[in-house]
């Protein structure tokens, strides 16, 4: 009856590591299969930041003046950062959906590597962010934006994906925390003030002092400022310490957030068996 049971070395560490990777890729492959089946969903998700780009360049852009350059060049890195923050909702939605539909429990009852459930989610979401970023970059090119050298672009993409991973783990944790899809909507709403309370759309130096400080210290602002610097594009000239040390903060913030939320997620995951 157990004829199909393949032999495994259950406790062999190397073997387990190998399966942890293989299983994560398999789980991520499920998302790829989703994209293939629902290209429209992927497209709409990728086009939303593009819509924002067009709105802010052509609709509001005319009234925007930033010190030291063109508003379009100021805006584009801001939207890159924003697209990474939007990933929070995507991750959270996937995690909540799988938990409420019993898929997470099914995975947990399988002889697969338990870590692969979350690792697969990370792979898939990072992959989708790279795709989304590519679409946005193409759109920015179309409206006349030009980045600096290849090395700087790669470094900028690295910083953006680092920010994405911070929000990814936040999404995993929040997704594991709630069983109620309505919470996702609440988070969706909260993402906006968080995004606006940064220098993504306007220089923090144009805000009242206390607000500027908050906006400057926003993790999104650190990444956006650092990316602007890498692209050789206008940064917020009148900024304080946080702006001057944006590159350090653009690494420190995501690393701290990733470590924090990854630890919380692991705890929460273990808590599922309680």
């Amino acid at each position: 009856m157990s004829a199909v049971l393949p032999p495994v070395a259950e406790d062999d560490l190397v073997e387990r590591l190998r399966w942890a990777v293989t299983d994560a890729v398999t789980v991520a492959g499920r998302d790829v299969a989703h994209w293939r089946r629902q290209p429209a969903v992927v497209l709409v998700g990728a086009l939303f930041p593009v819509l924002l780009l067009l709105m802010f360049v052509y609709l509001f852009g005319g009234a925007m003046v930033v010190p030291g350059g063109d508003y379009r060049d100021f805006l584009v890195p801001g939207l890159f950062g924003l697209a990474m923050v939007f990933g929070l909702e995507a991750t959270m939605t996937s995690v909540v959906t799988d938990a409420t539909r019993g898929i997470t429990d099914r995975f947990r009852s399988l002889p697969m590597a338990p870590s692969a459930v979350v690792a697969g989610r990370c792979l898939a979401d990072l992959g989708s962010s790279v795709l989304g970023l590519a679409v946005l970059v193409a759109a920015a090119f179309a409206v006349g934006w030009r980045p600096g050298g290849a090395a700087e672009v790669l470094a900028a993409v690295g910083l953006l994906l680092l920010l994405r991973s911070a929000f990814l783990w936040m999404g995993v944790f929040l997704g594991l925390l709630t069983r109620d899809p309505a919470t996702v909507t609440a988070v969706q709403v909260l993402v906006w003030p968080f995004a606006f309370l940064s220098n993504a759309f306007v220089p923090a130096s144009t805000m009242p002092g206390w607000l500027a400080t908050i906006a400057e210290w926003n993790p999104l602002a650190a990444t956006v400022t650092a990316v602007r610097g890498l692209f050789g594009q206008p940064v917020d000239a009148g900024g304080g310490w946080a702006t001057e040390h944006a590159l350090v903060l653009a690494v420190a913030w995501p690393v701290v957030l990733t470590v924090l939320f990854a630890a919380l997620s692991v705890r929460r995951w273990q808590g599922l068996s309680r």
Binding site: M1, S2, A3, V4, L5, P6, V8, E10, W19, T22, D23, T26, V27, G29, R30, A33, H34, R37, Q38, R101, G102, I103, D105, R106, F107, R108, S109, L110, P111, M112, A116, L272, S273, R274
Partner: protein, 324 residues
């Protein structure tokens, strides 16, 4: 050897024991139904046995392995079908099974082959590529069961597999379970439907408030509660209560036997149900007594106690949900 064995299984949530010392033994190749109302602890028990939850006390062995100490080994030998179909709605049926087969560590070719076998096994062999979201409830459930069978598990757990299904869907699931059992799989299913337990189970374990309230074969359980039921339909609803009392006394017999008690009118109306011990002449005695009192009887049936009635007696309260 037992396929499932729990000893003093306990699970406590916020000071309340959801499972309070459950002992259970399910023989290899048999079907055991965990029966109980909402909140009896059925799902918690299944989640512990399938390694999803840790017990707070007691031991649980599935396929001879301790679920706490060797969860991975246990997972390779069990299949779990939860309360709702846990399949990917966007993917097709075959795609789902290939995914789960890959996660059982079958290689690409083996996974594809196994997916085909499983689809055929649950009667979805001719399913096309459409997303699961477009499946009927019964089809989705069968796919869900197929996903739990990738490694031909020794023990299959089904948590309320037919809740929310229409009669056709329910029949589909029952057929699938019977086929599996014929192939030697041990099945533990939870259900609120006595009918389901009667149809499928070799043994029934009634859980009530975290404890085993009764166990045995469906036949034993009904017999333990006491013999048979005499169902009467009287012509005059006004005399139904009187008929019940008379019938009960007559059924107890002339030898001074005690009336069993529990005679009742099923509803305000003409129908009366009387618990009786089966003995020679019992029906005649009741008819003569009623005839003597001038009560006209239109219909009379002697039948075994249903598991439904047994259940009510065991748990002392009505079930939360009554099957339609």
């Amino acid at each position: 050897m037992a396929a499932i064995r729990t000893l003093g299984l306990r699970k406590v949530y916020g000071g309340t024991a959801v499972l309070d010392g459950v002992d259970l033994e399910v023989a290899r190749g048999s079907v055991c139904a965990l029966l109980g109302p909402n909140g009896a602890g059925k799902t918690t028990a299944v989640r512990i046995m399938t390694t999803l939850l840790r017990p707070d006390g007691g031991t649980v062995e599935v396929a001879g392995l301790d679920v706490v100490r060797r969860p991975r080994a246990v997972r390779r030998r069990l299949g779990m079908v939860g309360q709702q179909p846990a399949v990917d709605e966007v993917l097709g049926g075959r795609q789902n099974l290939v995914l789960f087969a890959r996660l059982h560590h079958l290689d690409r070719r083996a996974a594809r082959r196994r997916a085909g076998e499983l689809l055929a096994q649950v009667g979805l062999g001719d399913v096309d590529d459409r997303p699961v979201r477009q499946f009927s409830g019964g089809m989705r459930r069968r796919l869900d069961i197929a996903a739990a069978l990738v490694l031909a598990p020794e023990v299959l757990f089904l948590d309320e597999p037919t809740t929310g299904l229409d009669p056709a869907g329910r029949r589909d699931v029952w057929d699938a379970v019977r086929t599996l059992v014929a192939g030697g799989t041990t099945v533990l299913l939870t259900t609120q439907y006595l009918e389901e337990a009667e149809h499928l189970a070799d043994d029934v374990c009634v859980l009530d408030r975290g404890r085993v309230a009764a166990r045995g074969t469906p036949r034993e359980l009904t017999a333990a509660i006491g013999g048979d039921r005499l169902e009467l339909v009287v012509s005059d609803p006004a005399r139904a209560a009187e008929a019940a009392a008379l019938a009960e006394r007559a059924a107890a017999g002339p030898a001074g036997g005690r009336p069993r008690g529990g005679a009742r009118q099923a509803a305000p109306g003409r129908s009366v149900v009387v618990p009786v011990d089966r003995r020679p002449g019992v029906v005649g005695d009741v008819v003569r007594a009623l005839d003597g009192a001038g009560i006209d009887v239109d219909d009379l049936v002697l039948r075994p106690t249903t598991l439904d009635e047994a259940y009510l007696r065991i748990t002392g309260h009505a079930r939360a949900e009554v099957p339609a």
